[in-house]
Every structure is written in structure tokens, then in C-alpha cells.
Symmetry: C2
DNA sequence: CCGGTGAGTGCACGGTCGTGCACCCGGGGC
DNA sequence: GCCCCGGGTGCACGACCGTGCACTCACCGG
């Protein structure tokens, strides 16, 4: 239960935080087999190596744990968005760069992305709501980024929202596809190529959009 | 346990089929609260009004039940695709017609669409695979439909696949949004308008696609 | 009419679940 | 140096879980 790993003193608060982390990690891993709604408090406790009732010292319920996992997962995801935003928004290769970064982050934070994809539709209500809210924030962020491009000057806020929504949903679907795909590298290559072409199609449509309507 | 509802004789096979239906209906309703993976055989049996062990006379496991529900759900969904395909594929209002039909079917077969959206990412492995396979078939169907349009004559099979994939994922996302949305009719209106605009953007992009590359 | 078949029953088992309660004991403020 | 706060323990409970087994009894084919 206690592993100072050396004569390190390790304060009270540090020990608590370490247990909390262990619970979050265990829940992320165990829920990967099925879903949060099929995860029992006792499984988590056993994996962590604490007695079931000690769980309540950190979270009120599995659902509350899930909300904390959502927060944590979206920290990864926002880091990804920051990476994508970094670098000039020249139109030429923005598509390739963005998808490359997406793929890289999906691999590096696989369990977080899997968690979001699963619980987005099947998690406990509070978790679902938290995820949808975060995704909406991502869409808004993307919309303000798009608004900064000169090509979108004549666009309405509504058009920006619609385009952002489309792009985000395509990226979510691509992330899901990558994670679902067999680990063969050619399968992933194909998914990436498809995503590239789709994103380009969407951007071409967007560029020719305002001219009508 | 037996409700002939009148002096109707009702054969052996009919009674069995009726119980099977009741099990499928109960599972569809009960799994709506959370997910298949959190659904117990005993809950289903109690809802149906049979003893738990009698469940095995109809399905080997909850997972097998889930696969049967996938089959059934996609019968609804194929009916929708048939509706959309019926009527001439004139380009002018194909977008509006398609989305109208989608919305109508989502409302009429709400529980089936909810089931697919949930279990697609979080269901038991066999259920997930079955759903992905069916969606892939839908994409192929759409691709062959698109191939019949004169505008796609110069397209490669690969391009058709990519576009179909994009359209289907947008429709899945739209269906999810409609079901998630509050029942206020104006919220649904907004989703529908967004979906229309997105589909038009995609089609505009597709029409201007082959000209480059 | 008679015998077999198979949907549904009743009971029992070992296991897991969430949670309440009294308790322990070591770090940290006084 | 003492005391208390709080993370972690141990136990017990009633409920629910999947499943095995022996059983009933109404149906249908012979």
C-alpha cells in the first residue's frame, strides 16, 4: 500500500494524490474492456490494491470518477489542438499537418481517446454531457481559428459553426477508425489517406460555399 | 405467461416466436438506460415475465441477443435507405429529401437508432463488429448509387468510397445529434438546418473535386 | 391415442456487487 | 510530545448475478 521507493518522506497529500492517480489509471484501463457502466467499484479497488470502501475517500461514485476522467482526457486533446494551431496556417499543407498530429496523439494517448469514443454515446448521463460539452468547446475553438483565415472573411458566424462541426465530427470518426483498425500499418495508412481526401473535399466545398446561397 | 387474448389456438412455434420478440423488445428498452454490457439476463427475464433459465431456450447469451438486435435494427435502416433511393436522383433537392426521410425514420425507429449509436462504440465485441460490418455495407450501397449519377462518371472507385464514407459518417452524427437533442422542436430544426448545409458543402466539394488532384 | 419433445418452472449453488460501521494508526499542526 | 484528522482496514449485510439440474405439462407427429 505504501512504496516510498527510497527513504523519501512523501507527505500525506502526496500519498493521497498517488492513490487518486492509481484509481484513475486503473479505471481507464479496466473500462477499456467494456464501458464505465459495466465497471464495478470493487474491480477498481482490487486493481489499485485498496479495500473497496477506501474508494469513497476519493470519489463519490463511479460516475464522478468518469467525469474526472473526461476532464483528464480533454487535457490531452487540448494539447493536441494547441500543437495543430502552432505553425502558420498556410493553406497548402494544413490538412496533412493536422492529420499527422491527430494520428500521433491518438497513438500516444490511445486510452484517453478510446475512453471518449466509448463513453460519448454509452457512458453515464453526467459523463456523456461532460463529453458533449467539451466537444462543443473544441468546435468553438476551431471556429475562432477559422475566422482568422482571410478566406473566411465574408462568412457568417453560423457558417463557421457549421463547418467546424463538420470538421470535428470527421476528426472524431477518423480517430475512432484508427483505434478500431487492425494494427497492420497499411490499414492505418488507408484510413489516413481517406481522412486527408475527405478533409480536402470539405475545404474545397467550403471555399466554394459563400459564392452561392 | 400465456395470453391467447381470445379462443385463438396459437401453435407451439407461434408462442416461441412471441416470447422471442418479447425478449428482443425488453432488451432494446432496458439497454436504453445504459448499454448492453450493463444488461443482465435476469433483468430481461423479469421484464418479459419468464424465469431466468428460460432465456437460454432462445439465446445463448446477452451478446448473441445483441447480434440479433443489430440484424433487426438494420432492417429498419435499410428500409430508410430504400425510401431515400426511391424517387428520381435529381440533384436539386436530393439533400433536403434525404435528410427529411432520415429525421422521420429516426423518430419512428428511435430505439433502434439509439441502440446502434450506443453499441457501435461500447457494445460487446461481436456486436461492435456486426454493426461496423453493416455500416460498411451501407457505404458500399451509397457508393453504387452515387456511381449511377452522371456527375461522377470520371470518378475512381476509391473516390466514391471516400465520399460515401464521409456522407455516412455525417448522417450517423446527425442521427445521434437528433436523438441527443432536447425534445424542443426548434433545437431539432437547428440540427436539421446544420445537416443540410453540411451535406451541401460536401457535395459542392465533391463536384469540384476531380478537377484538381 | 400415446409417447416424445421442448418451452417454461423452481430451487439451489457460489460469486460479486454496493455500502454501512467500527476501527486502526501514522503524519502534521498545536 | 500530545492529539486529532483522515486515508485505509475488516467485517458484515442483503441484493443480484449467471448457471446447473431435475421437473412439469401442453403441443404435435406417429
Amino acid at each position: 500500500m505504501h512504496r516510498p521507493t527510497a527513504g523519501r518522506p512523501e507527505s500525506r497529500g502526496e500519498r493521497k494524490e498517488r492513490t487518486r492517480r492509481a484509481i484513475l489509471d486503473a479505471a481507464l484501463e479496466l473500462s477499456g474492456e467494456t464501458s464505465l457502466v459495466a465497471l464495478s467499484l470493487r474491480q477498481v479497488a482490487k486493481e489499485v490494491g485498496i479495500v473497496p470502501t477506501a474508494f469513497y475517500r476519493h470519489f463519490d461514485s463511479i460516475e464522478a470518477l468518469g467525469v474526472a476522467l473526461v476532464d483528464e482526457s480533454f487535457v490531452s486533446l487540448r494539447a493536441m489542438l494547441r500543437d495543430i494551431r502552432r505553425g502558420d496556417p498556410a493553406f497548402s499543407d494544413v490538412v496533412d499537418r493536422s492529420i499527422t498530429i491527430l494520428v500521433e496523439h491518438v497513438h500516444r494517448q490511445r486510452s484517453h481517446f478510446l475512453f471518449i469514443a466509448r463513453e460519448r454515446a454509452a457512458g453515464p448521463p453526467a459523463v456523456r454531457d461532460a463529453i458533449h460539452h467539451e466537444i462543443e468547446l473544441c468546435e468553438r475553438e476551431l471556429a475562432t481559428d477559422l475566422a482568422r483565415l482571410p478566406a473566411t472573411d465574408p462568412w457568417s458566424a453560423e457558417d463557421l459553426r457549421i463547418l467546424s462541426n463538420l470538421i470535428v465530427m470527421a476528426m472524431v470518426a477518423t480517430a475512432e477508425a484508427i483505434m478500431t483498425a487492425p494494427p497492420r500499418p497499411d490499414a492505418e495508412k488507408a484510413i489516413i489517406e481517406t481522412a486527408r481526401a475527405q478533409l480536402r473535399m470539405v475545404l474545397i466545398g467550403a471555399l466554394n460555399w459563400q459564392s452561392r446561397t
